[in-house]
């Protein structure tokens, strides 16, 4: 049995060696949690992959596996890509974190990039986008557009990323319209058209005339269109098939520049493990075209807000902001630090309801 272990080790080393001789082409792998046709999260990552191919032409080869379950399946897919000689692998879901770290240990010469995670190693970087900046712009438009003063929010899972989005949207909706109320529905999925449609209908029945979503399908748009007079926003991708109404704008994930930059770093041998959190300024977060269904002055305000966020003149979480229980979080003029934002586990003052546990 010792011999077998030894042989396995040797074979693995051989695999490593093959992976090390990265011939002339740089091989870049992508592991997706959903289907590339989801029209949202995975779709935008795959746009990034295509941009890498377009940028480097026949100097790169990209491969991807879609619909990968988080856990042992992800670990196997990652190992398989590394064995097949990938030089750089992007794992595009939070739940791939443990698998990424485990496989990275076995393949020290392969570089890994884990989206939305927090665990790094010498050959593992993490990257994410400051979607809350986009949520701020969205919140402003939502607050200005609502007539019933009820905004529905389809939330996926109660994790910091999603809570941050709710808070940012709420703060800016409230600024535009002090009477605004948020109704939040937790659907416990990132992508499930049927559940998302049900959630949208339930919110519309409760009087919401604006629906924000932190889920990836276009089902809420379809539900809004059917109900009539309800405003929606594209999530992750533009979802422009529902423009100009109900979809009046969108929160865009733009991964291409980052993927191109990191691939270039591997090609040039300058890749280093980093933690990236980019926003509107770097172009990782985009605002989809604001349609004419939005009054001109609201559109102008939204674009001004976007510009202020881009230049850094304004931070989306600027005090005074209290927590839901009324305690002070940020004093007048104070801005939130990244540590607080990364682990955000509370609603800001004014949001009704509890974060589910």
């Amino acid at each position: 049995m010792k011999l077998k272990t030894l042989l396995t080790g040797a074979a693995l080393a051989l695999g490593l060696a093959t992976a090390g001789f990265a011939e002339d082409k740089t091989k870049v792998g992508f592991v997706y949690v959903g289907p590339v046709g989801d029209g949202g999260w995975t779709f935008t990552h795959d746009q990034g992959r295509k941009a890498v191919e377009a940028e480097f032409g026949d100097k790169v080869e990209t491969v991807f596996v879609e619909n990968v379950a988080e856990g042992p399946d992800a670990e196997r897919v990652l190992t398989q890509m590394a064995l097949d000689g990938a030089d750089l692998i992007f794992t595009t879901s939070f739940g791939f974190g443990e698998a990424t770290i485990n496989v990275a240990k076995k393949f020290p010469n392969v570089k890994f990039e884990h989206a939305t995670g927090y665990q790094r190693a010498d050959n593992v970087s993490t990257y994410s986008a400051r979607f809350y900046e986009g949520r701020a712009v969205q919140g402003h438009i939502a607050g200005s557009m609502t007539e019933s003063n009820i905004i529905g929010y389809i939330a996926s899972y109660p994790i910091p990323e999603v809570i941050r989005g709710i808070n940012s949207a709420y703060i800016h909706a409230k600024k535009a319209n002090p009477d605004v109320e948020f109704r939040i529905v937790w659907v416990y999925t990132w992508f499930d058209p049927a559940k998302e449609a049900d959630a949208a209908k339930a919110l519309i029945e409760q009087g919401a005339d604006v629906i924000l979503q932190h889920t990836d399908s276009t089902a809420p748009h379809a539900a809004a269109q059917e109900a009539g007079g309800v405003v929606t926003f594209g999530q992750a991708s533009d979802m422009s098939q529902y423009a100009p109404f109900p979809r009046v704008s969108a929160l865009l994930d733009v991964w291409a520049p980052y993927y191109i930059e990191r691939t270039r770093a591997v090609m040039e041998g300058t890749w280093e493990s980093v933690d990236t959190w980019n926003g509107i300024a770097e172009g990782m977060v985009g605002i989809g075209e604001i349609t004419d269904a939005v009054p001109a002055e609201v559109k102008a305000e939204a674009l001004a807000l976007k510009e202020a966020l881009r230049t850094g003149e304004y931070h989306a979480f600027t005090g005074p902001i209290n927590k839901q229980d009324g305690s002070v979080w940020l004093a007048e003029g104070e801005t939130a630090n990244d540590g607080d934002l990364a682990g955000m586990q509370f609603y800001v003052e004014g949001i009704v309801g509890d974060i589910p546990n």
Binding site: M1, K4, E66, A69, G71, R76, T79, Q80, D84, M344
Partner: protein, 360 residues
């Protein structure tokens, strides 16, 4: 004219041959599908069926076959007992989740104590959790005559909500910076279902799957209870005359399949998965239904079917990454397998005759 004629007795030959014919037909039809998608069909079939077993990196994939196949086999063995007796547990996925939660919960409760008895306790907890979840439809059926198909299926969704709640609440890793998911049991020696021989893929769950196959074989062929199970499925009236107690049988079949599914969940969460996460369950409980039927509800057949299914998963991933086949094409391919199996099953009970056209 083609006529379909009922056989006086099911054909022994076709009963054994249909799975093989179904696999061959799947390869042909799947090859056509891949060709239509613009891929080399022979290369695709080779990538799916040959490479994981004998390809360049088979030293890595062979152990993975054990890891992927074991939970399928363990669950399918339990399901097959009930299916043989006409008791339909469709909710193994839920029992799998609850088994994992109870087992992992015990492990996490002991953290960071290191002791030899923690893992055995977790195993018992896993089996108990699955058993208890399986007993809900069993008791409701025995007591109130509810339909176990519906109840067990609905309980899957309840279990999923429960899982999400645990991953986000009670079992969330206190050192996880607010992210969902429990501590990683792989980093907790006393609770880790490690490989028994490093690099072999053999963990306690794989061993249990093999044991389950042997026990099921003995039970069905050598034991009175197994005889009752078979008799109830094949001739319910005769079973009643033979003194079979249907309530006891329901409790036994649903309880056992629940316990085995719970064990599979525990071995997975304490081993390859390591963590209680929101999306911990990946459909083993549902795929095991296919495995049970693909294996003709026979223990040895299930063993082979489990590994075949694992092979299509692992080979399918390789084909996705190397050949750019879409995931949906692989799923269609797996679906074909069951479709052809059921289609060719016709030959077991019927014979096809070429007859001269008769006057209508």
């Amino acid at each position: 004219m083609i006529r379909v004629e009922k056989r006086p007795q099911p054909s022994q030959f076709w009963s054994a041959a249909t799975p093989v014919v179904a696999v061959l037909a799947t390869m042909v039809a799947g090859g056509l599908l891949f060709a239509v998608l613009g891929k080399d069909p022979l290369l695709a079939i080779k990538t799916i069926f040959w490479d994981p077993l004998f390809g360049e990196f088979s030293f890595y994939y062979r152990p993975q076959l054990l890891i992927k196949g074991a939970p399928l086999i363990l669950i399918a063995i339990g399901l097959s007992l009930g299916f043989r007796a006409g008791i339909w547990n469709i909710g193994a996925e839920g029992q799998y989740i609850i088994g994992a939660l109870v087992g992992a919960g015990i492990g996490l409760a002991f953290y960071p104590l290191e002791a030899w008895y923690i893992f055995p306790l977790m195993v018992l907890g896993g089996a108990f959790g699955g058993w208890a979840w399986g007993m809900i439809p069993a008791v409701l059926k025995v007591r109130f005559g509810t339909n176990e198909i519906l109840v067990s299926l609905m309980l899957v969704y309840v279990a999923e909500q429960f899982l999400a709640s645990m991953a986000l609440g009670l079992m969330r890793n206190p050192d996880g910076m607010g992210f969902p998911g429990s501590r990683n049991l792989q980093q907790y020696g006393s609770a880790y279902n490690a490989e028994l021989i490093a690099g072999s893929g053999m963990h306690w769950g794989v061993l249990s799957a093999f044991l389950a196959v042997i026990f099921a074989y003995i039970l069905l062929n050598r034991h009175m209870l197994g005889y009752h199970i078979r008799l109830t499925g094949e001739a319910p009236r005769a079973a009643r005359f033979a003194g079979v107690n249907p309530a006891r049988l329901i409790l036994f079949c649903l309880g056992t399949s629940g316990a085995l599914a719970g064990l599979a969940g525990l071995f997975e969460v304490a081993g390859p998965a390591g963590q209680v996460t929101i999306d911990f369950n990946v459909g083993y409980g549902f795929t095991a239904i296919i495995v049970a039927f693909l294996g003709r509800l026979h223990p040895i057949g299930i063993l082979l079917a489990g590994f075949l299914m694992a092979l299509t998963y692992i080979g399918g991933e390789i084909a996705q990454s190397q050949l750019g086949l879409p995931a949906a094409a692989i799923q269609v391919f797996q679906g074909m397998l069951l479709f052809f199996l059921l289609a060719f099953d016709l030959l077991t009970n019927f014979r096809i005759r070429l007859a001269r056209g008769e006057v209508a």
